[in-house]
Point group: C3
Chain length 253, copies 3
Amino acid sequence: MTPLIFTDFGFSKLTTDDYISLIAASTNAFNGALLARRPDHYKHFTVAGIIVLAYAGGIGGGIVRDVLLNKLPAPLINPWYLILCLAAAVIALIVDYYAEQRFKDGLFQFMTAFTLPWYAIVGAKAALDAHLGYLAAVLIGIIATTAGRWIIDVACNVVPKQLVRGEFFVVSAALTGIAYVVCDQLGVPVIPATIVAFLVGFGFRLTAQTLGWEEWEPWEPENLQTGEKSRKKLGEGLRAEFSTTRSIKETTK
Amino acid sequence: MTPLIFTDFGFSKLTTDDYISLIAASTNAFNGALLARRPDHYKHFTVAGIIVLAYAGGIGGGIVRDVLLNKLPAPLINPWYLILCLAAAVIALIVDYYAEQRFKDGLFQFMTAFTLPWYAIVGAKAALDAHLGYLAAVLIGIIATTAGRWIIDVACNVVPKQLVRGEFFVVSAALTGIAYVVCDQLGVPVIPATIVAFLVGFGFRLTAQTLGWEEWEPWEPENLQTGEKSRKKLGEGLRAEFSTTRSIKETTK
Amino acid sequence: MTPLIFTDFGFSKLTTDDYISLIAASTNAFNGALLARRPDHYKHFTVAGIIVLAYAGGIGGGIVRDVLLNKLPAPLINPWYLILCLAAAVIALIVDYYAEQRFKDGLFQFMTAFTLPWYAIVGAKAALDAHLGYLAAVLIGIIATTAGRWIIDVACNVVPKQLVRGEFFVVSAALTGIAYVVCDQLGVPVIPATIVAFLVGFGFRLTAQTLGWEEWEPWEPENLQTGEKSRKKLGEGLRAEFSTTRSIKETTK
């Protein structure tokens, strides 16, 4: 078998899923690069580092989705993913250099809503195609949508956005996935189903952002100062447990 | 092919592996939600965030195990995983609201030991079923057992429990996996082998917790203050290396 | 089917890929253990914790590579990976105990360059074998090379080395992968191609370290103090966006 000499660049025919995934990847890469430059995430990143974070945000969701579905990740099969994410990162850096802070804040907020539904749609579609159930389809959509942000936040030593107040990030992804699954099961073709699901997710997130809706944060835990230092040996803990079982029962009455 | 209209919820027949995995997932989800509310991990999480962390703790281990074994993750195939983990997270929040701190500390410590062996058992079993060797089976058991905690700790900006003193977390998982592998290879059927391995892992962890056993922490590194700032160019490093090779040899005599 | 009694240790015939991967795994495990003991990463790790980090650095890259390529991870198939990484971690701890700080600094810097090319080579090779394109091959090489360091850095609450100044870590991995792909496509056999790619990656990194070359860090973002607190509702952001669109256009002229 003679080796192919520099012909195996891997460009292949793109499917509808690929087009939606490419929108998801490149818009999320754009947003990832902007995020890396925001003051709450900035950690003296180099240009190479910003491009790495843009890729994490851009193809992270697609890779995690395909790994969970036990497939070769689409971003590795077709180089358009890598090319478009690099272009998106470069454009984001140019915008970051030339634009004013207020424009960048607005753009970032807008893009956060605009980029959100794509991976939720194509993730839910991929899960349905793999004959997983509805709950799994919505879950894959949520994970594909939010995995990139999780990776970036953790790398920047920031608590992941999924876990704290933030205009219904996870819920928007879930609603998008649910909308797509409902359309799909009602027999709506891919493109109109995608449009409906996009409008649901984008509309909900935009409304939440505009009106300042935020997730509910429960009561503060007790003993916030003490932390791990107050950890007891289990012997003490068990004694505590048995002696307080009665008081619990009284409390829950 | 007519689309099925809302019938594809994905519920399917559960295997013995699924039952053990479901115990592992739901008890770990319960513990994950409690952990998210502990003062050393709490970072102003929303209710949605606590549920996300409960899922990370609950199905994280099962997903990592199946991804490593190159299979579709069980928690995506059968929705009972998602339903039971949600229920466990809700119960944990209710307990967190109504119970006293001392009861919660005791319960968390007890559950930490009780939840530990399940993923180690089913992970080792899955690896043996995939015809991997004994070492890989124990390793898959350890990874499945501790992956959820790693994800939660990193997301909460806490150093993962695996790495610091903590009542033999990794060793308990290893002992459980070893006990299961030994039973399995001696021809013991799944259910008694599971019981034996559970007792080994749970018993060891409980003993370690009760008696305050902890892993050995080696000597402190020198120069703890200097950190990355003292990084040298390699030229200096190499000079240092060659000039100190002799002194090393003297030291090691 | 009678169970095999303690014969399934999983040792199997090693391929050329395995030999290169074993060099990659054991040298990276050695470096991972040294890294865990460096003042900027040290977080009161136990001996078990240091071994866990050595495994993360050692087999992390190989596992991530094989998961991305949708294969059973080589480090799970053949126990030599686990045995050699443990040996490397133990040797690193012995060196850490007996050697002087200056020697350790030099050794760590040298090993950082020496360990880098192996996973880039075998990652690129594995991707080409899986009929992925050139870009994907280089990307898999980069990810396999740097994944272990990412996992360790995140666990130690340190910003991943890929993202900040550091003697062209990512670029060195990319150059190694490119060199291997070029050799491979020119028909050079595996072993000479490996040697050429190793010399390219090792030589570039060593030169960068010796001469103190570092990646370019772009201009500082504005408003570094304000952070997430200054986040606006989208309404304000959009108003800002529309009112500044003109000023942008003027700026970009």
